[in-house]
């Protein structure tokens, strides 16, 4: 049976950067729970599972927006630490030699060059206009809206989607 947390019945506090201490209104307390988004791509604010150190599920937060403001902040901080999917702002260079692509992009976390082995499997356009990219090391990147890319970047990416 999944225990759903609606919102105000819990108080969340950050512990050690990526963990949460959870206090239920009933008096129950859990230390060092790890929040995981059940839908990290399609909806990060909803259905966040809290796992203990053994990976066992303690509860699921239905909607982060319904939490008390401090708890919501704590969860946001935690998730920001845990989830890293840099948003690509523009493509600086795409070079290819013998089927190995090196893409250099500017992201919200700085400039990065990564390797793409097969852009057919590495680049996934979604119907909401987002593009997900997975590099040769399984790191993930996101283009929030392909239409917002500058003309040069769009031209570079268009044949690959």
């Amino acid at each position: 049976m999944i225990l759903f947390i609606e919102g105000p019945e819990v108080k969340l506090t950050v512990n050690d950067g990526i963990f949460l201490d959870v206090d239920f209104a009933t008096g129950e307390h859990f230390d060092m729970l790890e929040p995981h988004c059940l839908f990290p791509i399609s909806g990060r604010n909803k259905y966040i599972v809290l796992l203990d150190s053994e990976g066992e599920q303690i509860a699921v937060v239905r909607d982060m927006d319904q939490l008390l403001p401090e708890s919501k902040q704590a969860m946001e901080d935690c998730l920001r630490e845990y989830y890293m999917m840099p948003r690509i702002k523009r493509f600086i260079e795409m070079s290819e030699k013998f089927k190995i692509w090196m893409w250099t992009c500017e992201t919200d976390r700085g400039i990065i060059t990564f390797e793409i082995r097969n852009h057919i499997t590495a680049v996934k356009p979604l119907y909401d206009g987002r593009i997900l990219i997975k590099d040769a090391n399984d790191n993930r990147y996101e283009i929030p809206d392909i239409k917002q890319l500058d003309k040069k970047s769009y031209k570079m990416l268009a044949p690959k989607i």
């Binding site: 050690d16 920001r80 989830y83 890293m84 013998f98 700085g110 097969n118 057919i120 989607i161």
Partner: protein, 802 residues
């Protein structure tokens, strides 16, 4: 031992130094056993640039700033290895460094409150790599309870960081030793696989460098297929040139007819001219017919040999390829992309040459007839060529997008049509249709864009060509009206004919870019398979005398992708003849153990040995032939029952198959089938029940007579009665063979003399079943739960019966 008096410049260059340290063992793995021997060669050489450069292992070159910072602050410390990170602790891209010595960890990160941070290994209770989403952190828990995040990095450095954490924990547990460094080095060796020639990263350690071994251009890749059909293509080409020459004759004859025969009312001349034309046309069309036949056969041979090669390559691709590429997409490449390529090859080798001759032949004739008019009629040519180039560039990326969408449609078909039973069972027909429609619409909208370009493009080109004809009519007509000497109506008529013929090759070459772009998209997909790294058979031809069946896992770690470890630190020894049951919850890593043993995945850390020999050092085909694998949902092929049992055992005698089926408790039900062993099975074994399919697959394994047997949930999907039949068959089969059985139903492990309990990718219990029961650990709990469940079921059954 070598003595170096002077340090060569490549020794002081970190990138080159790294390459050598990594690749010497690969290049000469017979003579140099490991990287450490290379490090020994360097020992004693005066250090000119600080300790990090000379002796230290690192996963990627250390940035100069960090190198200098380290050497300035820790000149006395000699790090054994470093993890060079690509993120700072605030998850922004930037360089960071974690250096490991015998006694300390030194962390450099600009965002540390106090950088660098130096922690004594002795003060650490546990070091751990915390894998998160798209990044990971090296964290330590100190003995005073303090927790610290020392470094953050993307998955690119996660594996070496894992080894580093293991090193720290092992140093604390057993004290420092060379062996611990050796373990780390082997991980670095695997991680940092660069080509010794060009320095590029290899697809996997020891793989051939695509960069250096690449055959280069598409045409050179395709030449192999063209070369095989050289004779046929040359004959076709000669015939084409002949027909082209024939095609040039009629306009000339027409001019004679218009200028000489008709005005002079020469009846005999007319007959002669018509006869010549008849002979020309007969020759032209007869030869064209023969050439078309020959060309089709030759083209089909090319495409078939290409299909065979791709299919063959697809058989040897590693499972990791299929994890990332849908089977629908592979099928699409074998079927339609090869046909696109065939058309293009024929276009290039035949039509292009013919059109080339046509172009220059017509040009020569036209120049001979009237050079001025010829030059004027050439005015639209540059326009035609430029337009072709412009549209070609526009079309290329669009064809690639169309390909992706048509491949997505194939993938849906490959998913839903074979799974039609599931679709019907869940009454999901409408949703399936909607999804298919959405994909088709997506394809259609892309196709519309291409249709717009490719529709207007030829029309515009034809318009330009017509303009050329109009110019000739206008200027030629004026010459005739003004009575220009040497220019007749006959010449004008034949000139118009030649001019319209002239634009055919011009049009052809202008449109060639269109089909070239279309083909490029297909070629890229085909080359993706042909160029993909096949499963590595490092030891082809290495056959051990016989396989006794001793299996050892030594420090095996594995992850499908770097985001999550599936197996951690697996150490296990299985003696010959042992019957080992592997139990654990779903997703604990049981099947992955078997997948590694089957060599479906080779990219793991650590070693798996059979009879003391690394499985990677045994010929892969031989190795797999020594293993019998019975899966939960055995695959049946669209063939007879007999051939399904004899699958993988060619030249087997009929009685051997009957005997195997009998041992597998399959003979009984096969006898009752109307067509017996000749019963044709549908896709995925349709026509047989789950238990029957399972027994056929056991018969298949019996026939193979393997030394080692794996069962992956072989009785999970059958009823108790069938389970008994299968169990008896299994017991007959496993006698005297090393057997590994994965089972949820613990009752199926009654013959096992060893139980391995896997949980979250780790072995948590291992030993004889009685010992594990006495320990009252996880296995005991599983047995308790199952026996309770069985008792409940029995009680319920009894109740219902009463």
């Amino acid at each position: 031992m070598y003595t170096l008096n002077k340090i060569p410049d490549w020794l002081t260059n970190p990138r080159k130094c790294l390459t050598i340290a990594i690749h010497l063992p690969i290049m000469r793995n017979k003579s140099i056993k490991n990287i450490y021997s290379v490090v020994l060669i360097f020992a004693g050489v005066p250090q000119t640039e600080g300790v990090i450069v000379m002796n230290t292992l690192f996963n990627r070159p250390v940035p100069d700033s960090l190198k200098k910072a380290f050497n300035a602050e820790f000149s006395e410390q000699e790090p054994l290895f470093c993890v060079v990170g690509d993120l700072n602790l605030q998850a922004k891209y930037g360089d960071s460094l974690l250096a490991f010595t015998k006694t300390h960890i030194i962390a450099f990160d600009q965002t540390h409150e106090k950088s660098p941070v130096c922690v004594a290994i002795a003060d650490i209770e546990e070091a751990k790599v915390k894998r998160m989403y798209g990044n990971a952190m090296f964290r330590v828990k100190c003995k005073d309870g303090k927790r610290m995040s020392l470094q953050r990095f993307s998955y690119a450095a996660a594996n070496v960081a894992d080894a580093a954490a293991e090193y720290v924990n092992s140093v604390n547990a057993e004290g420092w030793s060379e062996d611990l460094v050796e373990v780390v080095k082997s991980v670095y060796h695997k991680q940092r696989s660069f080509c010794p020639k060009c320095g590029r990263k290899l697809p996997s350690p020891d793989a051939d460098c695509i960069n250096c071994s690449s055959k280069g251009h598409i045409l050179s890749k395709l030449s192999k297929y063209i070369a095989g059909e050289k004779k046929g293509l040359i004959v076709c080409l000669l015939l084409s040139i002949f027909t082209t020459a024939m095609a040039l004759v009629p306009p000339y004859i027409t001019s004679i007819m218009v200028d000489d025969v008709l005005p002079n009312k020469d009846a005999q001349g007319l007959i002669n001219v018509i006869l010549i034309l008849v002979i020309c046309y007969v020759l032209q069309y007869a030869v064209t017919g023969f050439r078309s036949y020959l060309l089709r056969v030759t083209g089909s041979r090319i495409v078939i040999s290409l299909k065979k090669d791709i299919y063959e390559k697809a058989q040897y691709l590693p499972m990791s390829f299929y994890d990332k590429t849908s089977t629908g997409s592979v099928i699409n490449r074998i079927n339609s992309d090869t046909s696109t390529l065939q058309q293009f090859i024929l276009k290039i080798t035949q039509e292009a040459v013919v059109q080339f001759f046509m172009l220059f032949g017509i040009l020569a004739i036209m120049l001979a007839m009237n050079w001025k008019l010829t030059l004027i009629s050439l005015i639209p040519v540059p326009l035609v060529a430029l337009t072709g180039r412009f549209f070609g560039k526009k079309l290329g990326p669009k064809y690639m997008r169309i390909w992706r969408r048509s491949s997505a449609i194939s993938t849906i078909l490959a998913d839903t049509i074979p799974g039609i039973r599931v679709v019907k069972a869940f009454t999901n027909e409408k949703a399936a249709v909607h999804k298919f429609e959405a994909y088709c619409d997506d394809w259609l909208s892309e196709d519309k864009v291409v249709a717009k370009v490719s529709g207007f493009f030829p029309a515009f080109m034809t318009f330009l060509v017509t303009c050329g004809s109009l110019i000739i009519w206008f200027l030629g007509g004026q010459s005739i009206i003004s009575g220009e000497e040497g220019f007749s109506i006959g010449i004008l008529v034949s000139f118009i004919s030649y001019a319209s013929m002239f634009y055919n090759p011009v049009n052809f070459f202008a449109n060639l870019s269109d089909s070239y772009q279309n083909t490029l998209a297909s070629v890229e997909k085909i080359m993706d398979i042909l160029d993909a790294e096949p499963e590595h058979d490092f030891a082809k031809g290495e056959y051990p005398d016989r396989i006794e069946g001793k299996i050892e896992f030594k420090n095996v770690n594995f992850s499908f992708d770097r985001s999550k470890k599936v197996l951690s630190n697996i150490n296990l020894t299985i003696e010959p003849g042992d019957i080992v049951g592997i139990v654990g919850t779903t997703g604990s890593g049981k099947s992955t153990l078997i997948n590694l043993l089957m060599r479906y995945y080779d990219e793991y850390d650590g070693e798996i040995l059979i009879d003391g020999k690394n499985i990677k050092d045994i010929d892969m085909a031989y190795y797999r032939s020594q293993i019998g694998f019975v899966q939960q949902d055995p695959m049946m092929f669209r063939d007879t029952v007999f051939n399904n049992i004899a699958y993988g055992s060619p030249n087997v005698r009929v009685e051997q198959v009957l005997h195997a089926a009998d041992i597998a408790n399959a003979h009984g039900f096969i006898c009752k089938l109307p067509d017996g062993y000749d019963t044709m099975l549908g896709e995925r074994g349709v026509g047989l029940s789950g238990g029957e399919r399972q027994r056929v697959s056991i018969a298949r394994a019996i026939l193979k007579n393997p030394g080692i047997l794996f069962f992956d949930e072989a009785t999970a999907a059958v009823d108790s009665e069938t389970e008994n039949l299968i169990q008896t068959a299994i017991e007959r089969l496993i006698r005297g063979r090393t057997t590994i059985m994965i089972a949820h139903r613990l009752s199926t492990l009654r013959k096992a003399n060893k139980i391995v309990v896997v949980d979250k990718g780790e072995i948590i219990e291992c030993g004889p079943p009685e010992e594990l029961l006495a320990m009252k650990g996880k296995y005991y709990k599983l047995v308790q739960i199952q026996s309770m469940g069985e008792k409940l079921l029995a009680a319920k059954a009894e109740e219902n019966f009463e």
